[in-house]
């Protein structure tokens, strides 16, 4: 155990999801005090990780959560905005309700959490906010229109937050994962007949010949959260096994 985050406090939204859970577990191993904030508890969390019922779309809930947290913690060093959903539809098939819902979670949720966490984050002397965008903010996956749009918004918001709060010593970065083995990816694969050959085909498109695991993402989150990354801010960190480094992989 390297204890890179010893003495730090961390708040992770979507903390019970595929990537969020891996982040919470890693943070705990690195010695941080961690809150996994999510709608409902799912599966086991390590003892050092505290579950907190939290809805990123509920403004008063967000406000109350951080007001209450300020009574317990004197600072928040690491905020990870990992809560997010995807909707597998083109714009034509997407209802306004679905559009509003995905923006409420992926973008507005990030805004509300960051906004109300900020007073406590400001008290850290080495604060790091890590947002979740996606490589889909750069290039589209078919049939994910609203999701692609939310990630573009996240990328712009990340740069804006980095500009506005950098002078206060707060670093803000976004991680843009490619294909990561999460429930979201399984849902994206859907119930296509031969799932194993589909998965193999997806792996083969990557220069690394594999898609990522949540722990791969947690490795970068851990670094960005740590003081080793103290000069890193305002950047979008694509982590995708090389997928987006290449031109379309025609089957030649």
């Amino acid at each position: 155990m390297s204890g890179k985050l010893a003495g730090k406090t961390a708040f992770v939204t979507g903390g019970c999801g595929g990537i969020g859970r891996a982040i919470c577990e890693r943070f705990a191993r690195e010695g941080a005090q961690v809150i996994a904030a999510d709608l409902a508890p799912q599966g086991d969390l390590p003892d050092q990780v505290e579950f907190l019922a939290y809805d990123v779309t509920d403004e008063s809930g967000c406000q109350q959560t951080f007001a209450a947290l300020a009574e317990r913690w004197d600072k928040l060093d690491v905020l990870v905005n990992a809560a997010g959903i995807e909707i597998e539809k083109t714009i034509e098939d997407t209802t306004l309700e679905e559009w509003n819902r995905i923006f409420a979670i992926n973008v507005t949720g990030m805004f509300l959490t960051s906004k109300y966490a900020l007073p406590l984050v400001r008290k850290s002397d080495a604060a790091s906010i890590i947002n979740f965008g996606s490589y889909d903010g750069y290039m589209a996956d078919p049939g994910l229109a609203a999701y692609c749009a939310t990630t573009g918004a996240v990328h712009a918001l990340t740069r804006a937050m980095a500009c506005d709060h950098g002078p206060e010593g707060i670093r803000v970065n976004a991680i843009c994962p490619g294909y990561v083995n999460t429930p979201m990816l399984q849902s994206f694969f859907g119930d296509s007949g031969d799932i194993e050959s589909l998965k193999q085909a997806v792996r083969d498109v990557h220069p690394m010949r594999t898609y990522g695991e949540p722990d791969d993402i947690a490795n970068l989150v851990n670094w960005l959260a740590s003081d080793e990354a103290r000069y890193a801010s305002g950047q979008l960190w694509v982590l995708d096994g090389g997928l987006s480094a290449q031109v379309q992989q025609m089957k030649l």
């Binding site: 996956d141 490619g178 987006s244 031109v247 025609m250 089957k251």
Partner: protein, 251 residues
């Protein structure tokens, strides 16, 4: 059609493909055009077009070419650096000779043409470099080609910054354009027809590019309609790079 009336243009690599399409469209729009290539003048080149046999990797050739531009045109309005070649190898397979050949044309050639032509360019001149989408995302097995196109993008921005406002400089990054280069790429496929079908499905535009598609953008960039456009690398690829390289619909 006279969007380039009164303008003079030098287009490298005008024998075939994209270069030839640019030559034809510039002539049609009223420009006086000189083009060049390594071999003799192509028989089907329109009479009005001046030809100079030139290896753009060779300094003496480039100097002679620009001397002739001055002799024929006086001032140059438009320079299109189109001449380029590709080598289908990873870096491990690439020899020093390959490097010399490819970088000589794709990098040194563009550098020397720009260096010689900027001083003879008219106020409001436009330089158009042909880059590639490979400058930003790698085509497999084309290592130094990809790198040479990244050089073109970097140089494009530098020229725009250093030589504006007198001269505008932009690059066009074509995707898959149906030229001899694309045919060569498909030819090495296990099943060239299946490869073409697959490649086609990755283009939101539903077709590959044609040299005239690139010529249309080059024409706009050369014209005064583009007088605020400078320092950019415009991608023209039928939407291919807007989509993820992983296209699950194709599995």
């Amino acid at each position: 059609m006279s969007r380039l009336q009164g303008k003079t243009a030098l287009i490298t690599g005008g024998r075939q493909g994209i270069g030839r399409a640019i030559v034809d469209s510039f002539v049609a729009e009223g420009a006086r055009v000189m083009t060049c290539g390594r071999g003799p003048r192509p028989g089907d080149l329109p009479k009005a077009v001046l030809w100079e046999t030139t290896d753009v990797a060779d300094k003496a050739d480039v100097d002679a070419l620009t001397d002739r531009v001055v002799a024929e045109f006086g001032e140059l309005s438009i320079l299109v650096n189109n001449a380029g070649l590709q080598i289908e190898k990873t870096i491990v397979e690439t020899t020093d000779q390959d490097w010399e050949l490819l970088m000589g044309v794709n990098a040194r050639g563009v550098f020397m043409l720009c260096r010689d032509c900027i001083p003879i360019m008219a106020q409001g001149g436009s330089i158009i470099n042909i880059g590639s989408i490979s400058a930003s995302t790698a085509d497999p097995g084309m290592a130094i080609y990809n790198a040479s196109k990244a050089f073109v993008q970097g140089l494009t921005r530098s020229i725009a910054v250093d030589h504006g406002p007198a001269i505008r400089c932009n690059a066009i990054s074509p995707g898959w354009i149906m030229t001899g280069m694309a045919d060569a790429a498909f030819a090495v496929a296990k099943n060239p027809e299946a490869a073409k079908t697959d490649a086609l499905a990755r283009h939101p535009a539903g077709r590959f590019g044609e040299p005239r598609d690139i010529a249309k953008l080059a024409l706009w960039l050369a014209s005064d309609e583009a007088d605020f456009a400078t320092g950019q690398c415009y991608t023209l690829d039928g939407g291919m790079t807007a989509a993820s390289p992983l296209n699950p619909g194709l599995f």
